[in-house]
């Protein structure tokens, strides 16, 4: 049994110390996905913590035949969607809407390095995509998950994932080329 599998087995046995190790190992993955979906570091931190509390509550339901990260991503994704829907009910799709008063970032996609760059660029090119398109784009293109993993996480069919990818990438191309030019200076 490798180290991660051992930690997972002990966490399933409700060993708090092992669960702490599990959180330490996997929280970067959860946090990165949450930031990429929510485009808010603060909310992503909250969602990450909540996701691990839910992991603890439901760990006996975890099916070891599925990758732990896939199961974790499903929990994180659902929490993020809840957060986005709550924002929408409150009339705000983003943590903070980009405004005309915002200074231009002056960051090329190719030169982007920080989380702030990432948030600004994704908000600019994909922020207004329909929810499913943005989710599929985030999971596949930003989180670099396989189509199979995206299917496991979202429950969408492979055909639906590809259709949403198709529309999302076309919309992105339009925004990147018409609004910011071919080099995508944002």
């Amino acid at each position: 049994m490798d180290e991660k599998a051992d930690i997972l087995a002990r966490a399933r046995n409700r060993e708090t110390a092992a669960f702490g190790e599990l959180v330490r190992t996997y929280q970067p993955f959860a946090y990165r996905l949450a930031v990429r979906i929510l485009l808010s570091e603060t909310e992503a931190e909250d969602v990450t913590q909540e996701a691990f509390v839910r992991v603890w509550r439901n760990i006996e339901r975890y099916d070891p035949s599925v990758l732990f990260t896939t199961w974790l991503y499903r929990i994180v994704t659902n929490l993020c969607l809840d957060t986005l829907r709550a924002r929408k009910r409150q009339g705000r799709w983003h943590d903070r809407r980009p405004s005309d008063d915002d200074p231009p970032s002056g960051v090329d996609i190719e030169a982007a390095t920080s989380t702030a760059d990432l948030v600004r660029i994704i908000r600019s090119i994909a922020g207004d995509l329909p929810e499913t398109q943005r989710l599929v784009f985030t999971l596949r293109d930003l989180q670099d998950l396989s189509i199979g993993e995206v299917r496991e996480i979202t429950g969408l069919s492979e055909a639906s994932i590809k259709t949403n990818l198709h529309y999302a990438r076309r919309a992105l191309r339009e925004r990147m080329e018409t609004e910011y030019g071919a080099r995508g200076k944002l």
Binding site: V23, W56, A112, T115, D141
Partner: protein
């Protein structure tokens, strides 16, 4: 493959998104269609730019603080102890109380019960105080209960000493009538009213509850009480 079919799959640029057959058919089409080939190249270029974003990996500002926060929360969680069915049942009850409606209903029920108990006890205390005050004034007007007892009979009783104390200290002062919320109509009612027990206990502070009970029985059987008015007229 025609242009319409090609455009449907042209944005699917990443590995695993097209089947081998689709890939072959698309490549064949692109060789003969510069417009679709240019569009495909634009999407491939877009994917390379997105790759730059993919490489940015946001990190938690304080990972250890986050671990501590999660552990603090899970330690505060009440999770089923898988030791046995009793614990599971208790846990289910605790979980059930986590439902807001049930919790509020229980809070209302407990508040009403406790308030009722407190009011009842305060009422008894009030009644006992006023009864004791009236007992201290044997000539006060009102309906009274006089007792008639054969001293020899008392001496044969198991609780002779206590009964002598009661008779001596209460004199003719035991008052019948309304005790608390109950109308006292008979000697048994009078002796069994909660206030009577309190009075007996105050008269016999070192006597236990069981002794008081048997005292009440002996008094009921062996001491004749006569209801009188303050003017000495026996009630009808």
């Amino acid at each position: 493959m025609n242009c319409a079919e090609a455009k449907r799959i042209i944005p699917l640029t990443r590995q695993g998104e097209l089947s081998e057959a689709e890939q072959r058919a698309l490549e064949a089409h692109l060789r003969s269609c510069p417009s679709c080939a240019a569009e495909r190249e634009a999407f491939l270029s877009q994917d390379r730019r997105i790759e730059q974003l993919r490489a940015i990996a946001p990190d938690l500002p304080d990972p250890e603080a986050s671990v501590r926060a999660v552990l603090a929360r899970v330690r505060a969680e009440r999770l089923p102890d898988r030791q046995g069915p009793v614990s599971t049942l208790v846990d289910r009850l605790i979980r059930a109380l986590e439902v807001p409606g049930l919790r509020y209903a229980l809070a209302v029920f407990v508040t009403i019960t406790v308030s009722g108990f407190v009011v009842q006890q305060l009422t008894i205390l009030h009644n006992v105080s006023s009864l004791e005050a009236r007992l201290a004034r044997p000539d006060a007007p009102g309906v009274r209960m006089a007792y008639a007892v054969n001293p020899e009979t008392v001496e044969r009783l198991a609780h002779a000493e206590e009964i002598r104390t009661i008779l001596k200290r209460s004199g003719e002062g035991l008052e019948t009538g309304r005790f608390g919320s109950a109308r006292v109509g008979t000697l048994a009612d009078l002796l069994n009213a909660p206030e009577s027990r309190w009075v007996l206990r105050s008269l016999l502070p070192r006597t236990g509850g069981q002794t008081i009970d048997s005292l009440v029985t002996e008094l009921s059987r062996n001491v004749r009480f006569v209801l009188t008015t303050s003017k000495g007229d026996a009630p009808q």
